[in-house]
């Protein structure tokens, strides 16, 4: 870590960086510093990514042959449920908001911390508690319902459904607390003179995400409580044999889980909206388009849940309405892509690892997004629903877009977090490996879906083998890419060259303080007079306006 003997920044002498402000374990575990909490989240969600990834590798290895390869059907079913639950609730949902969001949001609005720092620490420990409950019950008890917990299977199956949903219920509190914290911070903690339309776009993304978190998560909690009562006390809310309605569960579940998709993708869009202007050295082609489409996605995203249920038994009118509204969400995403590409068109571009990841994001997000519009097209969805096509589509969005953006952000803000550089050459190479590995893993799955292979199949007819083998080989390339990333980043933390305060010469607000930042983020009045995407004036001007 940095030492006080070598001040990079004159301010370091006044206040040490957040990393060295206290060195005891207690100073980390009981910290209310949003940066430390963000870093703890980053470590924890990365661990969850690794665990979820190991289950993914097991699933892929099992599919090397049509019959049983390494695990039996029940183990396979439990493994895909674990993979789904871990990736969705323990990695994707908290990934960018809780780590980078926590770290950066207060700095980006020129604040010392979030509005409720102790609540922030509490939300971290609630997350850890929820994660432990979920992992213990799923690993020890076994759950094979998939992450969707469809009734009446989940309410009848003899499995650890109840403790698992209690764990997810606990996790929901953590999500809600983080969301409330961000919303209140953005409303009340902005530096003097910082208007809404001058905020960094990442803050807009966090704001939109938080709104969804606060509004949608209670519905998940509600449906999980009802599922738990059905399973534990046999209430029969979703049991058709006693007048309950199993499809009601699907409506309730997707009313949360579709907006949850935007909890996963909006932060990713926020990361890309920061990286592209920095590396293109250009203002976003349309700031307003990105900001407003974020809000558009956050609100219209609540009205599209029915497109998960075109073949579940819904009226023609409902299906048509949900199809139409889903198209509308596609438009908001298209606006963003158009804006990013035209920002590059006018830019002065420097290609480094974060931007290379952003390019991967553009390709994978457009592919995943357009196939999303495709599966929202009702007659096509009838063929694709619950096949590998859908699996490929949402992995393009969740892994292709969100994980890529997470990695892009991790490289982009690595100097901000640590004050060090990672090996740029290793970074570029790994970015290529991750992209190739990802594409090789999931592109064949689109074709598998076309060919008709349903998802959640422990064994499959032999005609699907070739594509499955290609997909499995791809997953190994992806795993190597991610492992390499872990190695050179850890090396960067301990042995990387010092980065200086602003290695990317960005105008982003978070780069206007030292890297790593001091405990209270800014030692002077935050110099935010020049906008976060303004490259028309020389850098010196920023600190003297």
């Amino acid at each position: 870590m940095t030492t006080a003997a070598q001040p990079i920044d004159p301010f370091e002498a006044i206040e040490p960086s957040y990393l060295v402000a206290g060195r005891t374990a207690r100073s980390w575990l009981l910290t209310t510093d949003h940066k430390r909490i963000g870093l703890m989240y980053l470590m924890t969600v990365s661990l969850m990514l690794a665990i979820g990834g190991i289950f993914a590798l097991i699933l892929r290895i099992e599919h090397l042959t049509p019959g049983q390869t390494v695990v039996d059907a029940m183990t396979y079913n439990r493994a895909f449920s674990l993979h789904g639950v871990i990736m969705v609730w323990l990695f994707m949902i908290p990934s960018i908001p809780a780590s980078f969001g926590n770290f950066l949001l207060p700095i980006m609005i020129g604040a010392k911390d979030v509005a409720f720092p102790r609540l922030n620490l509490l939300s971290y420990y609630i997350y850890v508690l929820g994660a432990i409950v979920v992992l213990v019950s799923m690993l020890a008890g076994g759950v094979d319902t998939g992450w969707t917990f469809y009734t009446p299977y989940s309410s009848k199956a003899p499995s650890a459904v109840v403790p698992t949903v209690i764990g997810i219920f606990i996790l929901g509190w953590s999500t809600i607390l983080t969301g409330i914290n961000f919303i209140v911070s953005v409303h009340t903690m902005r530096a003097r003179g910082l208007r809404w339309m001058s905020m960094p776009l990442f803050v807009w993304a966090m704001y939109g995400t938080s709104i969804i978190q606060v509004l949608a998560t209670p519905v998940l909690a509600l449906s999980l409580i009802m599922l738990g009562l059905d399973h534990w006390l046999d209430w029969g809310i979703f049991d058709a044999a006693r007048g309950g309605d199993p499809v009601l569960y699907q409506h309730l579940f997707w009313f949360y889980s579709h907006p949850a998709v935007y909890i996963m993708i909006l932060p990713a869009m926020g990361v890309i909206s920061e990286i592209i202007p920095t590396f293109a050295r250009k203002n976003p082609y349309s700031y307003k388009a990105i900001a407003y489409s974020t809000l558009g996605i956050a609100f219209v995203g609540f009205l599209t849940w029915g497109h998960h249920m075109f073949v579940s038994g819904m009226s023609l009118f409902d299906a048509g309405a949900f199809g139409l509204l889903s198209m509308l969400v596609g438009i908001f995403s298209a606006i963003k892509v158009f804006t990013w590409v035209w920002t590059l068109k006018n830019g002065a571009i420097y290609l480094a690892t974060p931007l290379l990841y952003a390019f991967s994001f553009l390709f994978l997000f457009v592919f995943g997004g357009m196939t999303g519009v495709a599966v929202a097209t009702m007659s096509l969805d009838v063929h694709w629903h619950d096949t590998y096509f859908v699996v490929a589509h949402f992995h393009f969005i969740m892994v292709g877009a969100t994980l890529t953006a997470f990695l892009a952000g991790l490289h982009y803000w690595f100097p901000k977090l640590t004050g060090r550089r990672y090996s740029e050459r290793a970074g570029l190479l790994s970015a290529v490996l991750v992209f190739v590995g990802f594409f090789a893993t999931f592109f064949p799955q689109f074709l598998l879906g076309n060919a008709g292979m349903p998802r959640r199949y422990a064994s499959y007819p032999p005609e699907y083998q070739v594509l499955n083998v290609v997909s499995t080989c791809g997953s190994w390339i992806l795993a190597i890419g991610l492992l390499a990333t872990l190695i050179y980043l850890v090396h960067g933390v301990y042995g990387g060259a010092r980065s200086g305060d602003n290695p990317w010469t960005s105008r982003g607000f978070e780069w206007r303080t030292s890297s790593p930042p001091p405990t209270h983020n800014f030692v002077t009045e935050p110099p935010l007079a020049i906008g976060p995407y303004d490259y028309t004036v020389p850098e010196e001007v920023i600190h003297h306006v």
Partner: protein, 365 residues
């Protein structure tokens, strides 16, 4: 071109009247997807090559999107997506509305098998035999959890739910054998819940109809229930007749006449396939779904002019009895004379009933 696209996309051969048009929309959507994603990717690298940064502190002027360029872009994509939606919705409506002359097969899904019961009383496990060029409507229900009936060759899929009937119709275009998959996770053997649709030419189908079904796969669903209930073993095996018996035994006919007269409940005569006006003003089509719902939740769709006095039959009627009742009501769609007389009749030998005697044991598994 058609074959090339289909092969490139790994789509199975098109085997239903819907498959071809669904595939055409598929090609349209996928080609646009490919062009846009590769287009964006190439554009990003192209701009990177063209606009390299000349110095780390290079200054650039602000460039903003014009309102016109943004509007053009939004309208362009909106138009494209709306075209997809329109075509997709039209096809979806087509998928939902079975032709009136469709032959009905009753499907019962359970962990982890498919049971197909034909109007003539015949039934089979995991093998659905249908004639080519004839619309077939499946009236499906589940005995346990949610399943999903999926035939990739037909490009069709429909969830199968406990406690209610859903329907799916198709018209096979070529004789052959097409796999059936369960597409909704339903337990440990979900991936083994497979079956097949055997599409026969009209002549072969006629032969199959005459055959007594001793191929080992046939277990009479309706008959097995009849056996369990201790009904007459040598009685008629037609589903319609069974339905008539059940209507009598369950005392449906105490309130619902079959000759068109108004009584405590609406008459069964000419009910099936008609539009019914409900007490709350809604109009619903009296199909399998409506009839089943009215048996299970009589309060949900009370017909205008009637009192809601019917008790629920939830848990009292096993699925095969529901199927038989629906088939019975369907047979009255043209009036009091059962249309069942036009159905192909089978002479059921005593051997067939002996075979069905195995069924109760099998049910317990």
């Amino acid at each position: 071109m058609e074959e090339l696209m289909r092969t490139l996309l790994f789509l199975p051969p098109q085997a239903s009247t819907m498959a071809r048009q669904v595939d055409h929309l598929h090609y349209f959507v996928i080609v646009v997807t490919m062009i846009s994603s590769f287009g964006v990717y190439i554009a990003a690298f192209w701009f990177n090559a063209r606009n390299r940064r000349r110095g780390h502190d290079q200054l650039t002027a602000h460039v903003y999107a014009s309102g016109r360029s943004e509007a053009t872009m939004i309208i362009g994509f909106l138009a494209l997506f709306l075209v997809w939606w329109l075509i997709g919705y039209r096809q979806f409506v087509q998928m939902a509305q079975a032709p009136a002359d469709a032959m009905v097969v009753y499907v019962t899904a359970k962990q982890w098998m498919w049971k197909f019961a034909y109007a003539n009383g015949r039934s089979a496990n995991d093998v659905l035999t249908v004639p080519v060029g004839q619309p077939v409507k499946l009236a499906m229900t589940s005995r346990d959890v949610i399943h999903s009936f999926y035939v990739p060759g037909f490009r069709l899929k429909q969830d199968v739910l406990p406690g209610r009937y859903t329907t799916l119709w198709f018209e096979a275009t070529a004789p052959g054998v097409y796999p059936i998959f369960c597409a909704e996770y339903c337990g440990v053997a979900h991936s083994r819940m497979r079956g097949e649709v055997v599409v026969l030419s009209a002549e072969d189908y006629a032969v199959w109809l005459r055959d007594d079904g001793r191929d080992g796969s046939g277990v009479g669903v309706a008959n097995s229930e009849r056996l369990r209930d201790g009904a007459n073993q040598t009685g008629p095996s037609q589903l319609v007749t069974l339905g008539a018996q059940i209507a009598e035994r369950r005392e449906c006919v105490a309130c619902h006449t079959i000759n068109g007269q108004t009584h405590i409940g609406p008459t069964f005569s000419r009910l099936y396939g008609s539009w019914v006006t409900l007490a709350d003003g809604r109009r619903v089509l009296a199909g399998e779904a409506y009839l089943t719902r009215s048996m299970m939740e009589p309060m949900s769709d009370v017909v205008a002019g009637y009192k809601s006095v019917m008790p629920t039959y939830q848990g009292l009627l096993p699925e095969p009895e529901v199927a038989a009742l629906v088939e019975f009501i369907r047979s009255l769609r043209d009036g009091p004379v059962p249309a069942g007389v036009t159905l192909p009749r089978l002479t059921v030998s005593s051997q067939a009933d002996a075979g069905d005697a195995r069924a109760p044991e099998e049910e317990k598994k």
